[in-house]
Symmetry: C2
Subunit: 236 residues, 2 copies
C-alpha cells in the first residue's frame, strides 16, 4: 500500500489495552499501511498501569494518535477486573481454557467496539482492529468469530456511513486464531517491543507482574513456547 | 404479572435520558411489572440538565434504581450535542424528518445499549427498554427496527448468559412506531408527569427550553396534536 502524500494512509481505529495482544494488532495495522488511531479506556480497571503501557506502545510504534477515554464500567460491578473479587491464580492451562473466568467483564468488548465505532464514524475510518483471541480466551463469549461477525453487521446498520451510504465497516481480529506462541512470534516480526507491554491482572505497586494470574500464565507460556524470554519484570 | 414476595418482579434495564420518550418507556416497563433499573449517562452532552430531569423522573415513577454512568463521548467530537457545532433551529417538520441532523451523536445508541447490556448481565436482567422512535427520528440510523433487531442478535452472542446458557435478551422499544402525539397520550395514560422531563437540546441556564431546536419542535407538536399544554417552561 502506498502511503505517500498522493495516497494518504487510510485511518483505522485500533483498540489498545497496553497488553501484548493489542500491541501486536496495532503493529499489524500500521504495517498494513493504515494511519493508526489507538483507543484505550479508563474503565475502572484495577490494573490501570496498563494505560501507561498503552501510551508507551503507541509512542514506540509511532502511531498517528492515542486517545484514552473514560467509561465507568466499574459502576456496574460484577468482575474481578473492576470489583473486589479475587483474581484467580495458578490455574492450569485446561482450567484457563474452559469456562468463564471471574475476570470476565460483562459485555466489555461490545462496549469497547461500540466506542471504537463512534470514533471511526467521526474519523471517517471504516476499519477497526481488536486483539481478540479465540484460542486462549475461549471462556470469553465476546472473543469468538461469530460474535465479531455480528458486530460487523450491527455497525453497518448503526451508523450513517453504513446505513445511509452503504459503506462497510470491517472488524479486523488478526490474532483471532493465533496461539500465544504465534502472537509472540508475529509481534517480534513486526518489531513490537514486548518490554513496553503489561499483561498482568494484578500487578504490584512497582508494576511487577504477579506471574500467577491467567493472563501472566498464558503470556509466560507463549514466550516459553516461542523460545524467547519475556522482558517484563515478575514478582517471582 | 404478580409482583408479591413469591413472585418478585423481574429486573429490566431502562435507558433514561430525562426526555419525554424514555420517561414513557420507563413507565411502560414499570407498569408491565418489571423492577426498573434506570440508566443514564454523563456523556459530555451540552444539555446535562437532562440528568437532573432523569433523576426526578426516576423518583416520581418510584423506579427500583437509577444509575448515572460516565462515558466520555465528547472525546470523539463530531456532534452538535457534545461539540462546538450549532444546534439547528426553526426547521420545518419535513426538514426534521429527513436526513441526519448535526445533533446525531455517532453510534450513541450502540454505546448506550452496550452499557445497558453490561449492566443487565450483572443484574441478571434479560430485558432492556429504550425510548427509540423511528417516526420522528428517521434521520438517526440507530433508531430503526432493523438496527434494534441486530443489536438483539449481538447481545445473544456477546454475553455469557446468551452464549453459554442460551438465554435471550430482548430489546424493547415500545415507542418505536408511535407519533409524538401518541407518546404524549401514552405517557399521560401511564401517569408520566411531563413537567419533570427535559427535551431541549439547548436550554438556557435557568433550564428553560429554547422552543426552536428539533427536539423542542417535535415535542411541542406532539402536545399540540394531543390537545394538551406542555407543562415545561419555554424561553419564548
Amino acid at each position: 500500500m502506498t502511503t505517500g502524500p498522493e495516497h494518504p494512509a487510510r485511518p483505522a481505529v485500533v483498540l489498545l489495552s497496553g497488553g501484548m495482544d493489542s500491541a501486536v494488532a496495532a503493529a499489524i495495522a500500521r504495517d498494513a499501511g493504515f494511519s493508526v488511531h489507538a483507543l484505550s479506556f479508563r474503565y475502572g480497571q484495577r490494573h490501570a498501569i496498563e494505560l501507561a503501557a498503552a501510551a508507551r506502545v503507541a509512542r514506540a510504534l509511532a502511531l498517528a494518535q492515542h486517545l484514552i477515554v473514560d467509561v465507568d464500567l466499574a459502576a456496574f460491578g460484577g468482575s474481578a477486573l473492576t470489583d473486589a473479587i479475587a483474581v484467580p491464580q495458578d490455574r492450569s492451562a485446561d482450567e484457563i481454557g474452559h469456562g468463564v473466568p471471574p475476570t470476565y467483564v460483562p459485555a466489555r468488548n461490545t462496549v469497547f467496539l461500540s466506542l471504537a465505532l463512534a470514533w471511526s464514524e467521526v474519523l471517517g475510518a471504516r476499519d477497526i482492529f481488536i486483539g481478540a483471541n479465540a484460542i486462549d480466551y475461549s471462556g470469553y463469549p465476546d472473543c469468538r468469530p461469530e460474535y465479531l461477525a455480528a458486530f460487523e453487521r450491527l455497525a453497518q446498520l448503526a451508523t450513517v456511513a453504513g446505513a445511509e451510504r452503504g459503506e462497510r465497516f470491517v472488524i479486523h481480529a488478526p490474532l483471532l486464531r493465533m496461539s500465544k506462541r504465534e502472537i509472540v512470534e508475529c509481534g517480534t516480526a513486526h518489531g513490537v517491543d514486548f518490554a513496553l507491554t503489561r499483561t498482568c491482572y494484578a500487578p504490584d505497586p512497582s508494576g511487577a507482574a504477579c506471574g500467577r494470574c491467567d493472563a501472566c500464565l498464558l503470556r509466560l507460556r507463549g514466550f516459553a513456547e516461542a523460545g524467547l524470554a519475556d522482558p517484563v519484570a515478575y514478582r517471582r
